[in-house]
């Protein structure tokens, strides 16, 4: 396929947290609010002059300093963020909106705060740690509304004069929804028999929407969608199998690249920093305040594994199976970042359930934060692709034989 016109541009935006669009937005008077997790409603960090930056630590090397503070048996994502913070990579931020969702991220945030990774000259800077419930009922909604109001919206208003009114929230939702519509429409091209966008390309676009001010990338996303409408696929399929990728945090496009280089096209992204969930529109009505509706939407949409109520567990399994069907995938890859407590349970169970009860071929992998050099991972994925391919060949043969017997 011909390269997407803006792919290189988007790739460059992902090479550092303080990318050129972040710098541009700040120069225009924007307020950069860092966050790390879906449980912090992203749209509420995009009110008025604010823009959200979901934190990453691209080009991470050694994590020795963070390991000193957090020990080596903690999530590498949380450690990589602390390392980057200690290196001074987040000093551009004007606030940090953390959430109390897992021990590793708590420790990462706590250490960042204690070790003064923020710029001391930013007098309005504030840290917060939102308490996020493990339920999605109305008590949980009320709890998050109170937390967000007190710990995020109020400081933004008091420290920076940000408009946090209902109208401002509705405007932010409209802008957020436009990005979601574009990403969803772009993602639809992954459902084609011979998709005209790769998993790697899609991940690059999706990631860019998490780490850049929305208003500065929306035009290029629109152009990319237009380009896809006429993009010709390769005449010969480059991939031997299609897979849904399900799991924990992935902000490293190299992982998708590694999977695709091993023969498996990633057609659906059901992971943190992916589009499912995260890039679905938020529907607001006029009968209730926007803040409550936004919070409820996030709590209902989440597929986070820290929600262990039976209906949520079932929803996660059903969603994975449904994605396989909708995106015509041959199998699922369940992945987790090393030392992620929640996903270590989910992956172990779900990978068996999907194979044994849903009869969907499943590969289960754990991976480091940066996986580009992992030969073992490459071998595992390739072996999985080969087994999927053989299953397809066998099924086709059986069908042929059946047809000939019928004749």
């Amino acid at each position: 396929m011909k390269d997407l016109k803006h792919l290189y541009y988007f790739e460059n935006l992902l090479t550092e947290a303080n990318n050129e669009l972040v710098r541009q937005a700040k120069a225009e008077g924007g307020i950069a609010v860092g966050y790390t997790c879906f449980h912090m409603p992203e749209v509420l960090l995009n009110l008025d002059r604010c823009f959200s930056v979901r934190l990453r630590a691209p080009r991470t090397g050694s994590m020795e300093m963070a390991t000193y503070y957090m020990s080596n048996s903690t999530c590498e994502y949380a450690r990589a963020l602390l390392e980057r913070g200690l290196e001074g990579g987040y000093r551009f931020l004007d606030a940090m909106a953390g959430v109390d969702v897992c021990e590793c991220m708590n420790r990462s945030m706590e250490n960042m705060e204690l070790l003064d990774v923020a710029d001391p000259d930013k007098k309005g800077f504030f840290w917060c740690n939102l308490d996020s419930p493990c339920h999605d009922n109305e008590d949980a909604v009320a709890h998050v509304v109170e937390q967000v109001t007190r710990k995020v919206l109020k400081p933004l208003h008091e420290n920076y004069g940000v408009d946090i009114s209902d109208a401002a929230i509705r405007k932010a939702v409209d802008e957020h929804n436009e990005i979601c519509r574009l990403i969803t429409q772009i993602g639809e091209y992954r459902k084609l028999d011979n998709p005209t966008i790769t998993g790697y390309e899609f991940h690059i676009l999706t990631l860019a929407t998490y780490v850049c001010p929305k208003y500065l990338i929306v035009d290029k996303l629109r152009q990319t969608l237009e380009e896809l409408k006429t993009r010709e696929p390769d005449s010969k399929k480059r991939f031997r199998a299609k897979v849904v990728l399900v799991g924990s945090e992935i902000d490293d496009p190299e992982l998708i690249s590694l999977i695709e280089d091993s023969g498996a096209l990633v057609v659906a992204d059901r992971f943190c920093y992916g589009s499912i969930p995260g890039r679905q529109e938020i529907r607001l009505t006029d009968g209730e305040d926007a803040l409550t509706q936004v919070v409820r939407d996030y709590l209902h949409a989440t597929l986070c594994v820290r929600h262990v109520e039976p209906h949520k567990i079932q929803k996660r399994l059903d969603t994975a199976a449904q994605l396989c069907q909708d995106f015509h995938a041959d199998g699922i890859i369940y992945e987790q970042i090393k030392f992620c407590t929640y996903w270590s349970y989910e992956r172990a169970l779900a990978s068996h359930i999907m194979a044994d009860e849903y009869h969907i071929p499943t590969l289960s992998i754990d991976r480091p934060y940066m996986s580009r050099t992992s030969g073992q991972l490459r071998t595992r994925v390739q072996a999985f692709v080969e087994s999927l391919e053989i299953k397809k060949i066998r099924a086709a043969k059986a069908q042929k034989e059946e047809a000939s017997h019928g004749v």
Partner: protein, 265 residues
């Protein structure tokens, strides 16, 4: 007669097998891998082909498949297949009754369950760590100032087993040195190392669902002390292969090459 090649470029050894149309192994070579995977495979292929006057050069092979960590570096290969699939096929053509493999290579340990047609049913693999691999054995044998066969024999003479707690190659080496310094019997320490690796293999075998008719492949399959320890932990008799177990990856690749080459016609 047409000939088909499989080249398994491992991290420590490169193996090459050539089959004829009937699937008979007509040539095989095992050499120490160089830092450059392309050079290793080129040399192994050249040596294997030279043994066959009808072939002489790798270009004359009807179909060639690369496998192992350097599988995409094999010159003139028609395609590459993962070593997991190749080991399964190699064992299957050697002994179709085998249902599972523990493959201990230079840098990884794998458990592989085989389907009735030689394809992979399930597999498990260690992570980016040398614990329980060929590299681990090399480090241990070095610490004992023994060759690998001598180390294996030494462990078989032990009447007791001294447990080794560290699995990390670096820490296990220092643990061994400490035990030797304390005057503990060398053979019992060696048996402890074998048991530590066998337990690691146990995990991979169980993860892959290997319960019956298990065999060992890879260079470490020749380690009699390890085989004994694995039989102990898995509580079953390891199936002996009639062909060199270190060649299974290359043999599987050659068999796939034979099937694909004949199908192409």
């Amino acid at each position: 007669m047409k000939y088909f090649g499989g080249c398994d470029v491992g991290s420590t050894y490169t193996k090459c097998v050539i089959l004829d149309e009937k699937g008979t192994m007509v040539s095989d070579v095992t050499i120490r891998s160089k830092i450059n995977a392309e050079k290793s495979s080129a040399e192994a292929l050249r040596m294997a082909c030279e043994k066959l006057p009808e072939v002489k050069t790798p270009e004359k092979l009807a179909y060639l498949i690369g496998t192992g960590y350097g599988r995409n570096k094999v010159p003139s290969a028609d395609e590459n297949i993962s070593e997991i699939s190749c080991h399964a096929m190699g064992v299957h053509v050697t002994d179709p009754t085998v249902k599972a493999i523990i493959d201990i290579g230079g840098q990884d340990v794998k458990g592989i369950a085989i389907d009735t047609d030689g394809t992979v049913k399930n597999f498990a693999m260690n992570d980016k760590c040398a614990a329980g691999t060929g590299r681990f054995y090399e480090a241990m044998a070095n610490a004992f100032e023994l060759s690998l066969p001598e180390f294996s024999q030494l462990s078989l003479t032990a009447k007791n087993v001294i447990p080794i707690t560290a699995q990390c190659t670096v820490f296990a080496e220092s643990e061994v040195i400490t035990l030797v310094g304390e005057g503990k019997p060398m053979d019992e320490i060696a048996a402890g190392i074998q048991m530590a690796v066998a337990k690691r293999c146990f995990v991979m075998a169980k993860k892959a669902g290997a319960t019956d008719r298990v065999t060992l492949t890879g260079g470490c399959a020749k380690n009699a002390g390890l085989k004994k320890a694995i039989e102990q932990v898995l509580k079953l008799k390891v199936v002996e292969l009639k062909t060199d177990p270190q060649l299974m990856g290359a043999l599987g690749a050659a068999e796939y090459a034979r099937q694909k080459g004949l199908e192409k016609e």
